[in-house]
Symmetry: C2
Subunit: 233 residues, 2 copies
């Protein structure tokens, strides 16, 4: 293993340890000494990678954001229609939030007031919902009662954001079963009856594929979760 | 004004100043000196009332809880039916959260992990929703498709909790208009078609009455938001 590879592994271990510490203690009470101890590295090694606690938190946010965006793009690439894609995307992101402490901690850090970065992953999700619903309208999938579409879009945003909040009390709120139940309740409100029969509230295989690996170059512009050829945010 | 009355006013000013400071800075970063300065009292006066920051935060939580519970009980006392009461209660609590910094800060403090008290106002709201929906089932108001009731209850909890979370980004998420839109979307899912025509998603006058004053004795047992003659939580 080269020195560069070892450094990358140490950095990754520090990010994961920091996420666990932020989740347990909250950002303000987390300490750098607890993070380096949990990662099994010296305080000096931590300071080689990160100047201070804010820099570690920013790295957690950026890693969470990268994984959420990459997953959303991957699910979007396998889309059948916009409503199924919205359902599938919510399942895929819920699984990341359930399974990956970096995603959970990064999501919450990015949503906090006095943010350390200009990320807000809750607002990106909100944009994603609005974009998919606009695409669904273009595809003729939505209930013909267009006067209700604003109420319905807000209800979908609120209900999905609420699941993430409630997951802080009890992880079952982001289980596949709960997310499926939410779409079983909401899809009949959203979809035109002819479109409804083709929709699977439990998600298609696109929703349940493993999270995609990062692009080998690691470069390129950052794409928000809402990325896709739909209308601009 | 008696010495006792002056002390009560000072305590109230400190609770309000603390709520504003917690909302701006977060609990961990808030300082007692900023709280006493904002309340216009000396640090010594603060320490006469509160031993430390945790004691001030507990007082904010208890005051928020008392006002939310009192309001929920008052709306419950004017109930016509359980679904309208749920709608009315959400409007009344949303208004308190919009208008009163002590309610907002106390609600959030009570929901934080590592809570300083055994309150969790989000869980009380959750119980309130489940209790009202159980009453609505008893009253024959719900859609006859009982297999969907668990999905629907979770969706209502998630969507209302989501509005409170989103309000941290933008207060309009708890506006009367947004809450009304949520019920315009959700009541047709929940209600039997015969019951639906009698329901007002914008709330009846019971939802918009001023918050009730505390009982003069200030005593008696604490009642959760879900209080009412319905089934036990």
């Amino acid at each position: 293993m080269t020195r560069q590879e070892r450094a990358a592994l140490t950095r990754e271990a520090l990010i994961r340890a920091a996420a666990a510490e932020f989740e347990r203690q909250g950002y303000a009470s987390a300490t750098l000494s607890a993070i380096s101890a949990e990662a099994g590295v010296s305080p000096g090694a931590l300071h080689f990678h990160f100047e201070n606690k804010a820099a570690v938190a920013a790295a957690v946010e950026h890693e969470a954001s990268a994984l959420l965006r990459r997953t959303a793009r991957s699910v979007y690439g396998q889309r059948s229609n916009a409503l199924q894609n919205l359902t599938d995307t919510s399942h895929a992101l819920a699984r990341l939030l359930r399974e990956d402490v970096v995603v959970r901690a990064g999501f919450r850090l990015s949503c906090a007031q006095n943010g350390r970065t200009d990320l807000n992953l809750r607002q990106e999700w909100h944009s994603c919902v609005r974009q998919r619903l606009a695409e669904a309208a273009d595809e003729g999938l939505l209930t013909p009662d267009t006067g209700r579409q604003r109420d319905l879009a807000r209800t979908v945003v609120a209900a999905t954001v609420g699941l993430e909040t409630l997951c802080g009390d009890n992880g079952a709120w982001l289980s596949a079963e709960t997310v499926t139940g939410l779409w079983r309740a909401l899809l009949p409100l959203l979809a035109d009856p002819r479109a409804l029969t083709g929709l699977d509230p439990s998600g298609t295989p696109a929703a349940h594929a493993p999270a995609p690996a990062p692009a080998p170059t690691g470069g390129g512009p950052a794409h928000p979760v809402a990325a896709g050829p739909g209308p601009a945010r």
